[in-house]
């Protein structure tokens, strides 16, 4: 329990080691959840196209006729080798889907987080500092509305508004067709490709396409952040060390920034990290709303097709992403707050 400053590397090491059991639990859950779902996946996916013998052959090819334990171990082994399987309905390797479509989801999510932080933190600080004023009341209402409003509805309203006010502003997809044609695919992330190609016209085009979907998705998260930051600021403003700083004659503005605001933002890291999973599920809706070529849209399509290999592969990937983000958040937290390290 002795908490010396030098224990940071140890903390990070322990945290990284904990990834393995976390992953294992998650993978097991994903595997079991899909097996207990009623119905036979092969019949569900392609039952109306093939006869009984062909279906049986498909099942055997997928290894579904083997005992559950064997399937489970094979699944774990494959995931370790980053093999997420091949879809039943259209026979694409899931890894290909992740590589091709993951980039769009990644930039969408990052953009949404940037919007959420850019809106949520200043509004939250303001509301906490000017507690119980008209500004505070307004911001609190914003927080509730932003959190409660359904994404697809907000997205549609924004699209209607933007189409009316700025008819030329892009309202769907990640880039215009010219941009998609001209930007060479190197990383799977079209924004990065455009930057690497030094193609400023395309970069601007892609960024413009990002604004609406990222804002829509970020709005949800900003509601959570506003309320959290507000409560934290109110708390830190009443904390003993803030009063002690004032008693030492530290100027009011500096006390506010260095003591009250800074300390109020530490818990935001944790909560924003926890909201990552929520944001991913929000991304699925956002992608559907804005015709975004990302993993979420892909996942919805495979769920509809009842292609459980595809669903299992994509869900596994989402789970891995959530685990990695939570590790990153813990490490970031330890870097910022010296009391976290153990």
């Amino acid at each position: 329990m002795s908490a010396a400053g030098g224990s940071l590397p140890r903390y990070i090491l322990i945290r990284l080691m904990l990834v393995v059991p976390m992953m294992w639990v998650l993978l097991t859950l994903v595997f079991l959840l899909l097996r207990v779902a009623p119905g036979d996946p092969v019949t569900a996916a392609v039952g109306d196209k093939l006869d009984a013998d062909a279906l049986e052959a498909r099942r055997a090819a997928l290894g579904l006729d083997r005992p559950l334990v064997v399937q489970y171990l094979e699944y774990l082994g494959n995931v370790v080798r980053l093999d997420f399987g091949t879809t039943i309905s259209d026979r694409r390797p899931v890894l290909d889907i992740i590589v091709n479509q993951g980039g769009a989801t990644l930039t969408l999510t990052i953009g949404a987080f940037l919007f959420a932080l850019a809106i949520g933190i200043p509004l939250g600080l303001l509301a906490g500092r000017f507690r119980d004023t008209a500004a505070d009341a307004g911001i609190r209402v914003y927080g509730i509305v932003a959190y409660a409003a359904p994404i697809f509805w907000v997205g549609l309203m924004l699209v209607l508004l933007v189409v009316k006010l700025f008819p030329s502003w892009p309202t769907y997809d990640i880039a215009s067709s010219e941009t998609k044609y001209y930007v060479p695919d190197r990383t799977g992330i079209i924004l990065l490709d455009a930057i690497l190609a030094n193609d400023s016209v395309s970069v601007v085009d892609i960024l413009q396409h990002h604004v609406l979907p990222c804002f829509t998705l970020g709005l949800l998260l900003s509601g959570v952040i506003v309320r959290l930051v507000r409560v934290n600021v109110i708390q830190t403003l009443g904390d003993d060390y803030v009063e002690a700083a004032r008693a030492r004659g530290i100027p009011g503005g500096r006390v506010l920034r260095k003591h009250a605001f800074r300390n109020a933002l530490v818990p935001v890291i944790t909560v924003v990290g926890l909201q990552f999973a929520l944001t991913l599920s929000g991304a699925i809706l956002t992608e559907k709303t804005f015709n975004w070529p990302g993993l979420g849209a892909e996942l919805v399509q495979y769920v509809t097709a009842r292609d459980y290999i595809a669903v299992q592969g994509l869900v596994t990937f989402f789970a891995l992403a959530v685990v990695l983000v939570s590790v990153a958040v813990d490490i970031l937290n330890a870097l910022v707050d010296p009391r976290v390290r153990y």
Binding site: G5, A244, A245, G249, I250, P251, R254, K258, N263, P338
Partner: protein, 358 residues
């Protein structure tokens, strides 16, 4: 009253001269006057103890001197420090003197340091605020010197607050207050949150400060043992007023005010055989009793005590100042002899209503 007291010439050796200080809190029931017309002066290098029951206004008085009061509080009177009245200058000017000239040591050492800042950053922030353009080297030298006086090794300079024990954190905070060498420090129950051994250590440190830093201190405590050990003079506070003030030895050996005497009787020591306590509770400050505020609980109360307020003055040559009719009568002062026979009759008490007391 305020006009007659402010024209008194301040003591030439006084670091801080407080005249008729009054502090109000805004509450739902209306304004509550927690400090009512307090006069005090602190001489250079002197430790003045301030004692009294919980809720008598000790902390409010200490905080009122620095202006560390919650929103909705107000203060009036005069606070002459270094020849200037802190209450007459702009809030901005007064704020600049905080830390630099008037320091504060708090009751809760565990929560008074910012957990995200290293000890070194606390010192750097404090020194840079008050001494613009101070070099990094000098910041470190001054801080390490202050820490050394408090017995904290220089190797811990870059550690975080949570890596220190409660007693060490209080020493850190004392070092952080004294690194600016303020002429006057308020220490508000600095040992209440600490265990007995650490308490003795901190009291020793505070006691020795005048030789190292030449600082005057108002030491607020409810522990009379600490006063006897560390203070030169002591002021006894009851219901927002100073009821007795004098040399610590004098107040302890020959208390003049009945409240002081009762307070001393309530102290627990090794020779204590039974527990003494003062009946009743301190009055509600939104509606204090007339006359002497202690008279409803006072064993020596006379009729006059409930009618006229006694004045704080010396009742015996070489003794402490007390605001007590009983002391005036028993010492045979002019004011005491001027009282009528009727006024010196023991006070007839109405039975205290049980519901009232609750």
């Amino acid at each position: 009253m305020s006009t007659t007291t402010t024209d008194r010439t301040p003591d030439a050796g006084a670091v801080l001269d407080v005249r008729d200080l009054r502090v109000w809190y805004g509450t739902e029931k209306g304004a509550v006057q927690a400090v009512d017309g307090v006069d005090l002066e602190l001489r250079r290098g002197e430790i003045l103890g301030l004692v009294g029951e919980s809720g008598c206004g000790k902390s409010t008085l200490g905080r009122g001197l620095l202006g560390l009061l919650p929103d909705g509080a107000a203060r009036d009177g005069s606070l002459v420090f270094d020849g200037k009245d802190l209450l007459a200058m702009s809030p901005r000017e007064a704020y600049k003197r905080r830390g630099k000239s008037l320091g504060m040591i708090f009751q809760e050492p565990l929560t008074r340091l910012n957990p995200l800042m290293r000890v070194s950053e606390h010192f750097e922030e404090t020194l840079r605020t008050h001494e613009r353009g101070i070099s990094k080297k000098e910041v470190e030298a001054r801080s390490l010197e202050a820490l050394r006086v408090m017995g904290i090794p220089p190797t811990r300079f870059r550690a975080y607050p949570h890596e220190f024990s409660g007693g060490m954190r209080q020493r850190l905070l004392i070092a952080l207050t004294l690194v600016l060498r303020p002429a006057f420090v308020v220490a508000d129950e600095p040992t209440t949150a600490l265990d007995v051994l650490v308490e003795a250590q901190i009291i020793r440190i505070l006691h020795d400060l005048r030789s190292t830093y030449d600082t005057s201190m108002l030491l607020i405590t409810h522990n009379l043992g600490i006063i006897a050990e560390a203070c030169d003079r002591v002021a006894v506070m009851y219901a927002g007023k100073i009821v007795e003030v004098g040399e610590a030895r004098e107040v302890f050996s020959r208390p003049q005010h009945s409240y002081t005497r009762e307070l001393l009787r309530s102290t627990i020591s090794l020779s204590t055989t039974g527990l003494n306590f003062i009946e009743g509770a301190p009055p509600d400050l939104s509606d204090p009793p007339p006359g002497c505020r202690f008279h409803p609980r006072c064993p020596d109360a006379m009729t006059v005590c409930g009618q006229r307020e006694p004045v704080l003055r010396q009742v015996r040559d070489g003794g402490s100042d007390a605001a007590c009719w009983h002391a005036e009568v028993s010492e045979g002062t002019d004011a005491g002899r001027a009282l009528s026979a009727e006024e010196t009759q023991p006070l007839e008490r109405k039975e205290i209503d049980v519901a009232d007391e609750a």
